[in-house]
Protein backbone atom coordinates (compact mmCIF):
# COMPACT_ATOMS: atom_id res chain seq x y z
CA UNK A 1 0.00 0.00 0.00
CA UNK A 2 1.52 3.35 -0.96
CA UNK A 3 1.92 6.31 1.36
CA UNK A 4 -0.87 8.64 0.19
CA UNK A 5 -3.28 5.72 0.06
CA UNK A 6 -2.64 5.02 3.77
CA UNK A 7 -3.55 8.57 4.80
CA UNK A 8 -6.56 8.56 2.51
CA UNK A 9 -7.84 5.51 4.39
CA UNK A 10 -6.81 7.16 7.68
CA UNK A 11 -9.08 10.15 6.93
CA UNK A 12 -11.96 7.86 5.93
CA UNK A 13 -11.56 5.83 9.13
CA UNK A 14 -11.56 8.96 11.30
CA UNK A 15 -14.74 10.25 9.62
CA UNK A 16 -16.50 6.87 9.84
CA UNK A 17 -15.96 6.84 13.62
CA UNK A 18 -17.38 10.33 14.29
CA UNK A 19 -20.93 9.09 15.10
CA UNK A 20 -19.69 6.66 17.78
CA UNK A 21 -17.19 9.28 18.97
CA UNK A 22 -20.06 11.35 20.42
CA UNK A 23 -21.06 8.43 22.61
CA UNK A 24 -17.43 7.78 23.58
CA UNK A 25 -16.99 11.42 24.67
CA UNK A 26 -20.18 11.23 26.75
CA UNK A 27 -19.25 8.17 28.77
CA UNK A 28 -15.66 9.38 28.90
CA UNK A 29 -16.93 12.44 30.76
CA UNK A 30 -18.62 10.13 33.28
CA UNK A 31 -15.31 8.33 33.82
CA UNK A 32 -13.64 11.71 34.34
CA UNK A 33 -16.16 12.66 37.02
CA UNK A 34 -15.66 9.34 38.82
CA UNK A 35 -11.86 9.70 38.61
CA UNK A 36 -12.02 13.19 40.13
CA UNK A 37 -14.15 11.82 42.99
CA UNK A 38 -11.42 9.22 43.65
CA UNK A 39 -8.76 11.99 43.81
CA UNK A 40 -7.06 10.70 40.65
CA UNK A 41 -5.17 13.64 39.17
CA UNK A 42 -5.70 14.61 35.54
CA UNK A 43 -2.15 13.73 34.43
CA UNK A 44 -2.65 10.21 35.82
CA UNK A 45 -5.99 9.97 34.02
CA UNK A 46 -4.35 11.16 30.79
CA UNK A 47 -1.57 8.60 31.24
CA UNK A 48 -4.22 5.87 31.57
CA UNK A 49 -6.01 7.12 28.44
CA UNK A 50 -2.86 7.08 26.34
CA UNK A 51 -1.19 3.91 27.63
CA UNK A 52 -4.23 1.67 28.18
CA UNK A 53 -6.90 3.18 25.88
CA UNK A 54 -9.64 0.74 26.88
CA UNK A 55 -12.76 2.33 28.37
CA UNK A 56 -14.20 -0.66 30.16
CA UNK A 57 -10.90 -1.55 31.87
CA UNK A 58 -10.38 2.07 32.90
CA UNK A 59 -13.84 2.18 34.52
CA UNK A 60 -12.94 -0.93 36.50
CA UNK A 61 -9.58 0.54 37.52
CA UNK A 62 -11.18 3.77 38.75
CA UNK A 63 -13.85 1.78 40.59
CA UNK A 64 -11.14 -0.26 42.39
CA UNK A 65 -8.90 2.78 43.04
CA UNK A 66 -8.69 2.94 46.86
CA UNK A 67 -5.80 3.32 49.27
CA UNK A 68 -3.71 1.24 49.50
CA UNK A 69 -3.81 0.58 45.78
CA UNK A 70 -4.57 -3.15 45.22
CA UNK A 71 -2.06 -3.42 42.35
CA UNK A 72 -2.32 -7.14 41.53
CA UNK A 73 -6.11 -7.22 41.89
CA UNK A 74 -6.54 -4.22 39.58
CA UNK A 75 -4.19 -5.67 36.94
CA UNK A 76 -5.97 -9.05 37.03
CA UNK A 77 -9.46 -7.53 36.87
CA UNK A 78 -8.56 -5.16 34.01
CA UNK A 79 -6.82 -8.00 32.14
CA UNK A 80 -9.88 -10.24 32.57
CA UNK A 81 -12.06 -7.46 31.11
CA UNK A 82 -9.61 -7.00 28.24
CA UNK A 83 -9.26 -10.70 27.35
CA UNK A 84 -11.67 -10.01 24.50
CA UNK A 85 -8.84 -8.10 22.77
CA UNK A 86 -7.18 -11.44 22.06
CA UNK A 87 -10.16 -12.33 19.87
CA UNK A 88 -10.45 -8.82 18.48
CA UNK A 89 -6.78 -8.92 17.52
CA UNK A 90 -7.16 -12.32 15.89
CA UNK A 91 -10.22 -11.20 13.93
CA UNK A 92 -8.23 -8.32 12.38
CA UNK A 93 -5.83 -10.67 10.60
CA UNK A 94 -7.45 -10.21 7.13
CA UNK A 95 -7.35 -6.40 7.49
CA UNK A 96 -3.55 -6.53 7.91
CA UNK A 97 -2.83 -8.68 4.84
CA UNK A 98 0.43 -7.43 3.35
CA UNK A 99 1.43 -5.01 6.11
CA UNK A 100 4.72 -5.25 7.97
CA UNK A 101 5.35 -5.97 11.64
CA UNK A 102 6.12 -2.34 12.56
CA UNK A 103 2.82 -1.14 11.14
CA UNK A 104 0.95 -3.96 12.88
CA UNK A 105 2.63 -3.22 16.23
CA UNK A 106 1.77 0.50 16.09
CA UNK A 107 -1.79 0.27 14.77
CA UNK A 108 -2.84 -2.49 17.22
CA UNK A 109 -2.36 -0.17 20.21
CA UNK A 110 -5.17 2.03 18.86
CA UNK A 111 -7.75 -0.73 18.55
CA UNK A 112 -10.81 -0.16 20.75
CA UNK A 113 -14.22 -1.85 20.62
CA UNK A 114 -15.77 0.96 18.62
CA UNK A 115 -13.24 1.43 15.80
CA UNK A 116 -12.85 -2.35 15.60
CA UNK A 117 -16.61 -2.73 15.02
CA UNK A 118 -16.63 0.10 12.44
CA UNK A 119 -13.59 -1.40 10.70
CA UNK A 120 -15.06 -4.92 10.56
CA UNK A 121 -18.25 -3.48 9.04
CA UNK A 122 -16.15 -1.62 6.44
CA UNK A 123 -14.12 -4.77 5.82
CA UNK A 124 -17.27 -6.61 4.72
CA UNK A 125 -17.65 -3.94 2.01
CA UNK A 126 -13.95 -4.25 1.12
CA UNK A 127 -13.26 -0.72 2.40
CA UNK A 128 -11.04 -1.41 5.44
CA UNK A 129 -7.26 -1.21 5.89
CA UNK A 130 -4.75 -0.60 8.71
CA UNK A 131 -4.96 3.13 7.87
CA UNK A 132 -8.74 3.07 8.27
CA UNK A 133 -8.39 1.30 11.63
CA UNK A 134 -5.72 3.76 12.85
CA UNK A 135 -7.72 6.80 11.70
CA UNK A 136 -10.68 5.59 13.75
CA UNK A 137 -8.42 4.86 16.74
CA UNK A 138 -6.80 8.31 16.71
CA UNK A 139 -10.22 9.97 16.32
CA UNK A 140 -11.61 8.01 19.30
CA UNK A 141 -8.44 8.56 21.33
CA UNK A 142 -8.68 12.34 20.97
CA UNK A 143 -12.37 12.35 21.85
CA UNK A 144 -11.71 9.98 24.77
CA UNK A 145 -9.07 12.34 26.20
CA UNK A 146 -11.26 15.43 25.73
CA UNK A 147 -14.30 13.73 27.28
CA UNK A 148 -12.51 12.28 30.31
CA UNK A 149 -10.61 15.48 31.06
CA UNK A 150 -13.75 17.62 30.71
CA UNK A 151 -15.50 15.25 33.11
CA UNK A 152 -12.55 15.50 35.48
CA UNK A 153 -12.97 19.28 35.62
CA UNK A 154 -16.69 18.86 36.23
CA UNK A 155 -16.15 16.19 38.89
CA UNK A 156 -14.20 18.62 41.03
CA UNK A 157 -17.25 20.89 41.42
CA UNK A 158 -19.92 18.21 42.02
CA UNK A 159 -20.32 18.00 45.80
CA UNK A 160 -22.61 15.01 46.14
CA UNK A 161 -22.20 12.67 43.15
CA UNK A 162 -24.73 10.23 44.66
CA UNK A 163 -27.55 12.71 44.00
CA UNK A 164 -26.68 12.61 40.29
CA UNK A 165 -26.43 8.79 40.44
CA UNK A 166 -22.79 9.09 39.34
CA UNK A 167 -21.95 5.91 41.23
CA UNK A 168 -24.61 4.12 39.18
CA UNK A 169 -23.09 5.31 35.88
CA UNK A 170 -20.55 2.50 36.01
CA UNK A 171 -23.24 -0.16 36.37
CA UNK A 172 -25.41 1.47 33.69
CA UNK A 173 -22.58 1.69 31.13
CA UNK A 174 -21.66 -1.94 31.59
CA UNK A 175 -25.23 -3.18 31.63
CA UNK A 176 -25.71 -1.51 28.24
CA UNK A 177 -22.38 -2.87 26.95
CA UNK A 178 -23.24 -6.38 28.15
CA UNK A 179 -26.58 -6.28 26.32
CA UNK A 180 -24.72 -5.44 23.10
CA UNK A 181 -22.74 -8.68 23.54
CA UNK A 182 -25.86 -10.88 23.87
CA UNK A 183 -25.65 -13.46 21.08
CA UNK A 184 -29.10 -15.01 21.45
CA UNK A 185 -30.73 -17.87 23.30
CA UNK A 186 -27.56 -19.95 23.46
CA UNK A 187 -26.19 -17.32 25.87
CA UNK A 188 -28.99 -17.85 28.39
CA UNK A 189 -27.40 -20.65 30.44
CA UNK A 190 -23.87 -19.16 30.37
CA UNK A 191 -25.26 -15.77 31.49
CA UNK A 192 -27.43 -17.23 34.26
CA UNK A 193 -24.40 -19.19 35.48
CA UNK A 194 -22.20 -16.07 35.44
CA UNK A 195 -24.86 -14.06 37.30
CA UNK A 196 -25.40 -16.68 40.02
CA UNK A 197 -21.69 -17.44 40.52
CA UNK A 198 -20.68 -13.77 40.59
CA UNK A 199 -23.28 -12.97 43.27
CA UNK A 200 -22.13 -16.00 45.29
CA UNK A 201 -18.45 -15.08 44.93
CA UNK A 202 -19.18 -11.47 45.89
CA UNK A 203 -20.83 -12.64 49.12
CA UNK A 204 -18.11 -15.16 50.02
CA UNK A 205 -14.84 -13.61 48.82
CA UNK A 206 -13.18 -10.24 49.50
CA UNK A 207 -12.29 -7.78 46.72
CA UNK A 208 -13.29 -8.04 43.07
CA UNK A 209 -12.60 -11.74 42.45
CA UNK A 210 -16.27 -12.22 41.55
CA UNK A 211 -15.61 -10.62 38.13
CA UNK A 212 -13.11 -13.23 36.93
CA UNK A 213 -14.75 -16.16 38.76
CA UNK A 214 -18.25 -15.37 37.46
CA UNK A 215 -17.02 -14.66 33.94
CA UNK A 216 -14.95 -17.83 33.66
CA UNK A 217 -17.74 -19.99 35.13
CA UNK A 218 -20.25 -18.64 32.62
CA UNK A 219 -17.89 -19.04 29.65
CA UNK A 220 -17.10 -22.62 30.68
CA UNK A 221 -20.73 -23.60 30.02
CA UNK A 222 -20.56 -23.45 26.19
CA UNK A 223 -16.98 -24.81 26.27
CA UNK A 224 -18.08 -27.88 28.27
CA UNK A 225 -21.08 -28.23 25.98
CA UNK A 226 -18.72 -28.34 23.00
CA UNK A 227 -16.34 -30.83 24.62
CA UNK A 228 -19.22 -33.02 25.74
CA UNK A 229 -20.65 -33.04 22.21
CA UNK A 230 -17.33 -34.19 20.79
CA UNK A 231 -16.37 -36.71 23.48
CA UNK A 232 -19.90 -37.55 24.59
CA UNK A 233 -22.04 -40.60 24.06
Amino acid sequence: MNHSNFWDYFRKGALANLPVAASVAAYGSVLGVLAAQKQISWPVLLMMNLSIFAGSAQFVMVDMWVAPLPIIEIILAATAINLRYLLIGASLNPVFQGSNLVQKSVVMHFVADENWAVTMAAHRRGAASPGFLLGGGICLGMVWCCGTLAGHQLGAVINDPRMFAMDFAFLAVFTALAVSLWRGKSDLLPWLTAAAVSIGADQLLPGKWYIAIGGVSGALVPALRSWYRREGP
Partner: protein, 104 residues
Amino acid sequence: MSLITGQEAILLTIGGVAAATYALRFGGLLLSERLPKSGGFNEFMAALPGTILLSLVIPGIFSAGPGGWLAALATAGVAHKTGNLFISMGLGMAIVAIQRNFLA
Protein backbone atom coordinates in the same frame (compact mmCIF):
# COMPACT_ATOMS: atom_id res chain seq x y z
CA MET B 1 -2.86 6.79 52.71
CA SER B 2 0.82 6.72 51.79
CA LEU B 3 0.35 4.12 49.05
CA ILE B 4 -2.31 5.88 47.00
CA THR B 5 -0.10 8.90 46.57
CA GLY B 6 2.90 6.63 46.02
CA GLN B 7 4.09 7.27 42.49
CA GLU B 8 5.48 3.74 42.21
CA ALA B 9 2.17 2.07 43.01
CA ILE B 10 0.34 4.23 40.47
CA LEU B 11 2.96 3.66 37.75
CA LEU B 12 3.08 -0.06 38.46
CA THR B 13 -0.69 -0.42 38.27
CA ILE B 14 -1.13 1.59 35.09
CA GLY B 15 1.99 0.10 33.51
CA GLY B 16 0.83 -3.43 34.33
CA VAL B 17 -2.62 -2.94 32.84
CA ALA B 18 -1.15 -1.16 29.78
CA ALA B 19 1.37 -3.96 29.14
CA ALA B 20 -1.24 -6.70 29.55
CA THR B 21 -3.73 -4.91 27.31
CA TYR B 22 -1.17 -4.30 24.57
CA ALA B 23 0.03 -7.91 24.79
CA LEU B 24 -3.55 -9.11 24.27
CA ARG B 25 -4.16 -6.76 21.31
CA PHE B 26 -0.91 -7.47 19.49
CA GLY B 27 -0.73 -11.11 20.63
CA GLY B 28 -4.20 -11.79 19.26
CA LEU B 29 -3.14 -10.56 15.83
CA LEU B 30 0.18 -12.47 15.90
CA LEU B 31 -1.45 -15.68 17.11
CA SER B 32 -4.44 -15.40 14.77
CA GLU B 33 -3.14 -18.20 12.54
CA ARG B 34 -2.62 -20.51 15.52
CA LEU B 35 -5.67 -19.91 17.71
CA PRO B 36 -8.20 -22.70 17.25
CA LYS B 37 -11.13 -21.63 15.08
CA SER B 38 -13.59 -24.10 16.62
CA GLY B 39 -14.09 -26.35 19.62
CA GLY B 40 -14.19 -25.75 23.35
CA PHE B 41 -11.44 -23.13 23.60
CA ASN B 42 -13.07 -21.04 20.91
CA GLU B 43 -16.49 -21.35 22.55
CA PHE B 44 -14.95 -20.26 25.85
CA MET B 45 -13.19 -17.21 24.40
CA ALA B 46 -16.26 -16.18 22.40
CA ALA B 47 -18.56 -16.36 25.43
CA LEU B 48 -16.12 -14.69 27.84
CA PRO B 49 -16.63 -10.99 26.97
CA GLY B 50 -20.36 -11.21 27.72
CA THR B 51 -20.07 -13.27 30.89
CA ILE B 52 -17.24 -11.07 32.22
CA LEU B 53 -19.25 -7.86 31.75
CA LEU B 54 -22.29 -9.49 33.30
CA SER B 55 -20.28 -10.66 36.34
CA LEU B 56 -18.94 -7.14 36.62
CA VAL B 57 -22.37 -5.57 37.04
CA ILE B 58 -24.71 -8.19 38.53
CA PRO B 59 -23.43 -8.17 42.16
CA GLY B 60 -23.52 -4.36 42.19
CA ILE B 61 -27.06 -4.26 40.79
CA PHE B 62 -28.12 -7.04 43.15
CA SER B 63 -27.07 -4.97 46.17
CA ALA B 64 -28.42 -1.67 44.79
CA GLY B 65 -32.02 -2.36 45.86
CA PRO B 66 -35.32 -2.03 43.94
CA GLY B 67 -34.42 1.39 42.44
CA GLY B 68 -31.22 -0.05 41.03
CA TRP B 69 -32.99 -3.16 39.74
CA LEU B 70 -35.56 -1.06 37.89
CA ALA B 71 -32.84 1.23 36.49
CA ALA B 72 -30.75 -1.73 35.32
CA LEU B 73 -33.76 -3.33 33.62
CA ALA B 74 -34.64 -0.06 31.87
CA THR B 75 -31.00 0.41 30.78
CA ALA B 76 -30.84 -3.13 29.40
CA GLY B 77 -34.20 -2.78 27.63
CA VAL B 78 -33.32 0.51 25.93
CA ALA B 79 -29.82 -0.73 25.04
CA HIS B 80 -31.39 -3.77 23.41
CA LYS B 81 -33.95 -1.70 21.47
CA THR B 82 -31.80 1.26 20.41
CA GLY B 83 -28.20 0.05 20.70
CA ASN B 84 -27.38 3.55 21.96
CA LEU B 85 -24.98 3.43 24.89
CA PHE B 86 -25.42 7.02 25.98
CA ILE B 87 -29.24 7.08 26.00
CA SER B 88 -29.44 3.76 27.89
CA MET B 89 -26.88 4.91 30.45
CA GLY B 90 -28.60 8.28 30.90
CA LEU B 91 -31.97 6.64 31.49
CA GLY B 92 -30.56 4.28 34.15
CA MET B 93 -28.83 7.14 35.95
CA ALA B 94 -31.96 9.31 35.74
CA ILE B 95 -34.11 6.61 37.37
CA VAL B 96 -31.66 6.18 40.25
CA ALA B 97 -31.25 9.95 40.67
CA ILE B 98 -35.03 10.52 40.76
CA GLN B 99 -35.49 7.71 43.24
CA ARG B 100 -32.77 9.10 45.55
CA ASN B 101 -33.82 12.75 45.32
CA PHE B 102 -37.59 12.43 45.47
CA LEU B 103 -38.57 8.98 46.69
CA ALA B 104 -35.95 8.06 49.28
